[in-house]
Each structure stands twice: as structure tokens, then as C-alpha cells.
């Protein structure tokens, strides 16, 4: 079975409003085990053994990130949960927050113990304001039950900015500023929030932590592929009969996810990882779900044969141009130029020169942009040029 409930094991099982239902499902057992039976180093080691990699898209090894912050000398350290999923087509963290906020709190508290942080933050996107009461109630219940002694959690809400899902922009936003990406180094594990050592983990990453601590890193590392351990939660939407959230064993295939589970038919292409993600055509559908191939943060948008590739790229470029924070020139200007060129193609007035310009632009943006937004903005263009060149050629009128 490609489906496996590790992250989502409590979703639909517990009452997210009531901590006692969570406690009945082994809730906070992992936190107790970590605090009572393990040193912070042992917790970090267990996470390293598990092979868990970040679920926000970049796939950085979680244990190594935590170790970096642990080993950075400072009086104050912070752990942050990134609940600012804004990638086009992603809603898995919404589903998790709606159904099992307690596991997230437990994961963040374990992170705090491992890193040596007394303060945790959950950065919740403004679009999810309707989840704030549920989340704060869960934190309050955990606090009152004594699970947050020596460690507290503050929820900070965003104010509507896609780029704040980028870790350095997110920290700027928590500090009350414009959500603009920072120059790195220094990395957050050395100088993050308020210039103190900080770890930032995606909601889904932290959801894995209690499972790993309770069952062992060795148990976790048996799932998945060589370099992609465990499961991944996907948000599937677009031209599918059954849109929704699916948790898959890594190493399963896109076919199993989008055709067998979400019931897609007549697929033309799949956009994986949203606006900054990748595009694969139907004939690559047997590719495994893994970091070795293509994974993303879990946004999966399916397009059927009736869809126009140029339209998809044009709209994606518009999104990126609107959401670029504007701090670095390659991203600010590059995304605008992408829009201008794709607008010409959508009118059927593209040129060979335009394609060359976009190829140049792609390389410049990838090499010189400050953060993932600009660095990955070209994927949608370059992937479609690779797999759907005819769709561009049909819109070329000049040289």
C-alpha cells in the first residue's frame, strides 16, 4: 500500500478541541520520553538516524539543522514552526492544523528541548486566521496540563505575503518588519530570530518528530527510499475527481497518487510544488515520490488535456511577480520580465529571441537571487520549454 498514516495518524481520530482524546492516542508520550529518558543530544541523534528531511520543500536534514542550533553558543535560542504554507495548491498544513494541533505542539516542544530553546513560535498565515482559536486553545490546554513547563509557544500571524513562507523573510516578519529575505550566511542556526540561534521547521516536519522519538529513528528509516525516508503528505487539486490530502510512503509513484487515489484522467501535466515547483508531463508519471527525483513541499496541481500550457506558465509567472518581495534585483525584475514575455506568448506573439532571453534570465535568477522564490522561479518556464516546446513554437510569430 502506498498510503501510510504516520503524520496524519490522529487526523479524524482525535478531537482537535480536546486534549484528553489526544492523550488517549499516546499524546505527549514522546515529549515525556525525550525529557525524562533522553539527553538533547540523544534526541537529535534519533532524528538524524531517522533520516528525516525538511518537508517545506528544501529537504534539509532535520537533525543536522537542530544540531547546528544546539551547538551555537547563546543564552537565548528559538524554535519556529512555519505554518505559512502559501505555495499555490498547498493546503496540507491547514488540514493538519485543523485535525491534530496537539502533535504539532508536541513536535515543537521536543525541538525546543533538543535545541535548548525556551521559546517557540508558530507563524500562522493570515489566510488561516479562522484556525487561530483552535490552535491557541490547544496550546492553552497543553500548558495547563503541564506539558509546556519551561517552554512556551507564541502564535504570530502573518499579514498576507507568500514570501514570508521563506525562512529568513518569516523571521523578519516576526520581528515586525517587511517580510524580505535576508542575505546568508549567517544561517538561522547561528543568527536567526533576533540574531539568536534558531531552527525553523515546516508543520509536517515537526509532526514526524513525536513518531520518531516514540518508535525510534531506526523504525522511521525503514520507510522510504535511500535518501528520502518516511512519508510525505500531499495536497492534490485541479483536474482530479478526488481532491484532498494524501499521505504517501516515499518511493511510491505519482501515478499512485494522482491517478489511483485522486482519480485524475487524461492528464496533460502535473505541477509539483506550486509556483516555484516543477512540471512533469503525463509520460513521467511513474517517477517515484522522492527527493532524489522531484518532491516539493506537497502541492500537486493536475492539469488535463484541455489545458493550455502557456496559460499555466503565464499565470504562474504573474503570481511570482506579485509575490516577489522586491529586495533583490534579479527576482524583482526577472519575474516581471517573465510576465511580459509570457504575456506575448499568450497573445501568440512570442519570438525565438524571447525564449533565449528567458533561458538567460533563468540562469541569472537561479545564481543570483537572494532566496528560493527567485532561485526557483524559472522552473515552470524551463520545464515547460523542455517538455512542451511545441506549445511555445505555435505562439511564435517573429525571430
Amino acid at each position: 500500500m502506498p498510503q501510510e498514516r504516520v503524520v496524519l495518524k490522529n487526523c479524524g481520530v482525535i478531537d482537535p478541541k480536546n486534549i484528553s482524546t489526544f492523550l488517549d492516542a499516546d499524546g505527549f508520550q514522546a515529549l515525556n520520553k525525550a525529557r525524562q529518558e533522553m539527553t538533547p543530544e540523544e534526541v537529535i541523534n534519533e532524528v538524524k538516524v531517522s533520516g528525516l528531511r525538511g518537508r517545506g520543500g528544501a529537504g534539509f536534514p532535520c537533525g543536522i539543522k537542530w544540531e547546528g542550533a544546539r551547538n551555537s553558543p547563546a543564552d537565548d535560542k528559538y524554535v519556529i514552526c512555519n505554518a505559512d504554507e502559501g505555495e499555490v495548491g498547498t493546503f496540507k498544513d491547514r488540514y493538519i492544523l485543523e485535525n491534530d494541533p496537539f502533535s504539532l505542539i508536541e513536535g515543537l516542544a521536543i525541538a525546543g528541548y533538543a535545541v535548548g530553546a525556551g521559546q517557540g513560535y508558530i507563524y500562522l498565515r493570515a489566510e488561516y486566521h479562522y484556525l487561530l482559536d483552535l490552535l491557541e486553545s490547544a496550546i492553552k490546554q497543553a500548558r495547563e496540563a503541564g506539558y509546556l513547563n519551561g517552554f512556551d509557544i507564541i502564535v504570530r500571524e502573518g499579514a498576507g505575503a507568500y514570501v514570508c513562507g521563506e525562512e529568513s523573510a518569516l523571521m523578519e516578519s516576526i520581528e515586525g518588519k517587511r517580510g524580505e529575505s535576508r542575505y546568508r550566511p549567517p544561517f538561522p542556526t547561528v543568527a536567526g530570530l533576533w540574531q539568536s540561534p534558531t531552527t525553523i521547521n515546516n508543520v509536517e516536519t515537526l509532526m514526524n518528530i513525536p513518531r520518531i522519538i516514540l518508535n525510534g529513528g531506526g523504525w522511521y528509516s525503514q520507510m522510504g527510499t535511500e535518501r528520502s525516508k518516511g512519508t510525505k503528505v500531499f495536497s492534490v487539486s485541479g483536474d482530479v475527481a478526488r481532491p484532498g490530502v494524501y499521505e504517501m510512503l516515499l518511493g511510491s509513484t505519482w501515478r499512485e497518487l494522482v491517478e489511483e487515489l485522486a482519480s485524475a484522467e487524461n492528464i496533460k501535466l502535473i505541477q509539483i510544488g506550486g509556483a516555484t515547483g516543477r512540471i512533469i508531463p503525463r509520460d513521467m508519471i511513474d517517477t517515484p515520490l522522492s527527493f532524489e527525483d522531484i518532491l516539493g513541499a506537497g502541492a500537486v496541481t493536475v492539469y488535463d488535456e484541455s489545458r493550455d500550457v502557456i496559460d499555466i506558465v503565464y499565470r504562474t509567472a504573474e503570481f511570482l511577480a506579485e509575490e516577489s518581495c522586491g529586495k533583490c534585483t534579479p527576482c524583482r525584475q526577472g519575474t516581471e520580465v517573465m510576465v511580459e514575455i509570457m504575456e506575448r506568448f499568450s497573445r501568440g506573439e512570442g519570438s525565438v529571441k524571447d525564449i533565449r532571453a528567458m533561458e538567460d534570465l533563468a540562469e541569472t535568477m537561479m545564481l543570483t537571487s537572494l532566496c528560493g522564490l527567485g532561485q526557483a522561479a524559472h522552473f515552470v518556464v524551463m520545464d515547460t520549454l523542455k517538455y512542451f516546446r511545441d506549445d511555445y513554437n505555435r505562439r511564435i510569430t517573429g525571430n
Binding site: E85, G86, E87, V88, G89, T90, F91, D93, R94, R125, A126, E127, Y128, H129, Y130, E157, G158, A159, G160, A161, Y162, S173, E175, G176, K177, R178, G179, S235, V236, S237, G238, D239, P243, G244, V245, Q271, G274, T301, Y303, R307, I312, R315, T316, F319, E322, E323, C325
Partner: protein, 146 residues
Amino acid sequence: MMSKKLTSPEKAPQDLLGSLKDAQIRYGHLPHEFMTELAESLKVPVSDVYGVASFYSFLSIKPLGRNVIRICKSLPCYLKNCQVIIDTVEKEIGIKPGQTTPDGRFSFELTNCIGLCDKAPAMLINNDPHVDLTPGKITQILKSYK
């Protein structure tokens, strides 16, 4: 309206975004007088305040209606024909995206992905999600916002 001090004195620069969000809720937008006073109390340049105020899409420096409609226009909602919903709302309240009704009841905006793609097309009115929209549902939904 602005004669009283609008901000408390003990604020620090890190409270900038939070103060703007509070003001957005209180006044429905961020009046110039407020931003000037906030800059003074935080001891930061007015340009910093304006910079944050104009950065985030849920903050507005021009007056908004009592209720803000945000229809998602990103690809998953576009695939589910959000344009029909946009057209229906336009017809229903008589304004285009970016505008506010003369009676101040509604502001109308298009927004990027709001994470409701499994129930597209979707929109937020103020903080409330409305999903699986059809033109037939719009009148009833709008009726509940006075």
C-alpha cells in the same frame, strides 16, 4: 477622530507589524495620522512604517469597506472557473476588484492562493472561508455581511 494619541507609549520597533494589524482591525485601514504617530512612538522613520504597511496584502493604506471579499484567482481556483464567481460578485455588488461600494459595505479584491484548493473555487470574506462556490450561492453568502 485622531485627536487622541492612538498608540501606547511603551511600544518597541518589533511591535510595528502587530500595531499595524491592530489598527487595521480597529479603523478598517491605516490612516496617515496613525502611521505618523506610530513612527514617533516606536522611534522609527515614517518611511519604515509605510514600508511595512504597504508590504502586506492584508494591510491597507486606503479606506476599505466594512467587509472585505477576497476571491482566490490562483491556478487551482482558476481551473474550477473562479472567473464566473468573480463576475457574479461584480454583478451582485456593482463594483470591480480593487473597488469599494459607495455605501462602504464591501471592498472587493482578488487574492493569491488561500489554501482551499480542494474546495475550489473559494474565497474569504473578512476571515471566513467560503468554499465550493457556485454563482447560485453568492447572493445568500453576501446577505449575511451587513
